[in-house]
Symmetry: C2
Subunit: 454 residues, 2 copies
């Protein structure tokens, strides 16, 4: 094998192929921390499209699997290494140019989401998608998973902001799809097909992003409830009438975990807390906030607080974002990502509580409630084999529940390797076959991220 | 052949298969009026997915081409009949149900866009995409072409509102893709792949649409310019700062053609007219209108008129929508649909004027200027063979020009049969090959809309 690798090393600039065992080991897992992760032959860190092409030509020639990897923050094991594979990390592909006239940016995939936001903000522009992990996740990974976030309830998900891509196919061919045109229907919608394809169809080497003018400062409303159902009812009433720019949910476990850490005076007795915002301009933002506060009150909120002060509002958003690390302090997490049509939100949350009771594990639920997209956080101790097993059972049962409620096994994190056994149960045999036909057409040898996604 | 057709007739409810020669002849062309249209064996008008499946199973069994057709308003010849093919018209598939709780509608493809808008408006909801032909085009055709419209500059195009589809594949398999979930990343983005596929991958039999709360009443600004460049400069300034809900352009030919018919007092001496709107709520809408009026003035507008009266505003929008029929009064039209990145808009329009002069044909340009999407209307007399030939040359040269300016041969109408020879020139051989691989994977026998789209 070392002579095989030698030809790859020779084909690329010095330092691009890393074989140091410690470094290679550090690329075994992503944030899903899959215990079944393998060990790659090498980690390849190209800086240019041509280098990615060389890697894939070599991989096709030697029938070696390639695991594309962004910042390694994926939560479904989409970037878990396999024995004998190559991990292709885009971390060194970090250029960006912003064009204010077309209101677009052209970025390489390794740039972090926060870096994209910052680069475009310097031109008075805004890239909306905001995964909670925006400070540590890459734009390429966002596109590979069609990532969501908090503002998606109003502004849509990553795919809505991808106008063009350059991708490298399994055989090393580089293809440009779309470009800085707001409308373009020439040929099949291949740009959109590659968004969310989890590295199974090609490697993204450049993206053209649609940008918006800078966001207006939001008005924020925070409300506590003594029942989850009451909070869920309020969500449906709100989204039926207005377009909030954020509509987030935390359950009592998350509230208390955050309060333990941040000590900001959250209501420890609440069963649910909502953090909502409107970024409509001028008095409309305040009117929306007032409307949401009224809906919360009408639905039995025990406490409602509104603010138009951006910093005060951001403190509550930060609290919501902090929920995952705060709950993680209680143990290891199996992080779920199930979604349902909005009216089923309360049934999903109460069903999850039943699963938690039955499997005797702690499950905290946080949610992008306005999208019906929840993140049940299953807390377990990996050293306790029985508990770990019960947590895994709960993980699957939550997906089964979401599907039974007309929902999805993954709203924004991707199928990866962890959720693959549940995919067919959601989309059915005909759609599975259709996925497979497209995968086979684009990657006939199956070298791209085998075992992940479809 | 008649016995072949007999088996189709027998497989479907009475009246579904139409063989009356006059009726079949009326389905030869769509609005592109392709003179090379063939004549189908029969027109099939199913009402249910199961009937569409029966048609496609039969077509696959007999290797007969199927031309899917919505309302027949396509402008690129995507529904032109072929000799020996079957035209599959969705015109009798007209059900719709609206769900206010999920803010979605499930519709059959034959419903007109205006009927969808009306059905959801009855529930206080809004389906934004608004092709100029919205009163006569079908929602299925809108999805098959990823149709645009006037409000797309702020609200995006059809694909942004398609959450789910049921499609019937070439072999008759029915597949459900997506559904009433605002976020769902399970499996490849196949819903998006079918949007804009022009009937080449499958037949859409049901759509799940994302809806918004009702639109707010817009403030409208109308401005006249003595140069196209000045108007184009204003467009770039506006979209860099705010999000207008409409930003439309008409050239002097269109202005005069509309004024000939409507006599509403448009400035006949103007080189260009802009119709812009903002639907931001409360004072923000007026502030946007004021900003746009100022930008128009700063860029040398000869006349600027603002109104917050919805009826007065709608009169100007109607004038813009009326431009195509008004110019059509001057002769037959070859209707173009080219788009460019915004800064190239003025170069595109002036380049088109040069082509018109060189080919000695009248070309009027109207545009969804905020999207960089233009509709050059090439006027010709089909009885004048030499002029018809010059018009066809201009048609191709305009696409070549758009591509040279970094643009697209079609922004929202589709490639159809008319633009197919120019597709490879825009997207390049690698993307063509990728399109072809997907087409072959989904329709290996090539029976779905052969010769159209990809």
């Amino acid at each position: 094998m070392s002579s095989t690798l030698d030809s790859l090393i020779a084909a690329l600039p010095e330092g691009t192929v890393v074989t140091d065992p410690d470094i290679v080991a550090s690329y075994r897992q992503d944030r899903a921390a899959d215990p079944h992760a393998g060990t790659a032959l090498a980690v390849v860190r190209p800086t240019r499209t041509e280098e990615v092409q060389a890697v894939l030509r070599w991989a096709t020639g030697h029938q070696i699997a390639v695991i594309p990897r962004g910042a390694g923050t994926g939560l479904s094991g989409g970037a878990t290494a396999l024995d004998g594979a190559i991990v292709l990390s885009t971390e060194r592909m970090r250029d960006i140019t912003v064009d204010t006239a077309t209101r677009t940016a052209v970025a390489q995939p390794g740039l972090l989401n926060a870096e994209v936001k910052k680069a475009v903000a310097a031109h008075g522009l805004w890239y909306p998608p905001d995964p909670s992990s925006f400070e540590i996740c890459s734009i390429g990974g966002n596109i590979a998973t069609n990532a969501g976030g908090l503002c998606c309830v109003k502004y849509g998900v990553t795919t809505d902001y991808v106008l063009g891509l350059q991708v490298v196919l399994a055989d090393g061919t580089a293809v440009r799809l779309g470009g800085p045109r707001l409308k373009d229907v020439a040929g099949l919608s291949l740009t959109k097909l590659f968004v969310g394809s989890e590295g199974t169809l090609g490697v993204i080497t450049e993206v053209t992003l649609k940008l918006l003018p800078a966001q207006h400062s939001p008005c924020t409303v925070v409300a506590s409830f003594d029942s989850v159902e009451a909070a869920a009812r309020a969500v449906v009433t709100i989204t039926g009438k207005i377009r909030p720019s954020m509509l987030e949910f935390m359950d009592s476990v998350a509230i208390n975990a955050v309060e333990d850490k941040l000590k900001m005076g959250l209501d420890r007795n609440a069963a649910a807390m909502m953090v909502a915002a409107s970024d409509e301009r001028g008095p409309a933002g305040g009117a929306d906030a007032e409307f949401m506060a009224q809906v919360f009150t009408d639905n039995g909120a025990t406490e409602v607080f509104s603010t138009s002060d951006p910093e005060e509002g951001e403190a509550f958003v930060a609290a919501r974002r902090y929920a995952i690390p705060a709950v993680e302090a209680k143990g290891s997490l199996l992080l779920e990502d199930v979604g349902v049509p909005l009216p089923a939100l309360a049934d999903l949350v109460s069903g999850i509580a039943k699963i938690a009771a039955q499997r005797e594990v702690l499950i905290s639920v946080i949610a992008h409630a306005g999208d019906g997209n929840t993140h049940p956080l299953i807390v377990f101790d990996p050293a306790d084999t029985d508990m770990a097993q019960r947590a895994e059972l709960a993980f699957g049962e939550i997906m089964d529940l979401a599907v039974a409620l007309g929902g999805t096994i993954t709203g924004e994190h991707g199928v990866g390797r962890l959720k693959r056994p549940w995919l067919a149960g959601q989309i059915g045999p005909e759609a599975m076959e259709l996925n497979r036909r497209i995968k086979d057409a684009l990657d006939p040898a199956g070298i791209l991220n085998p075992g992940a996604g479809i």
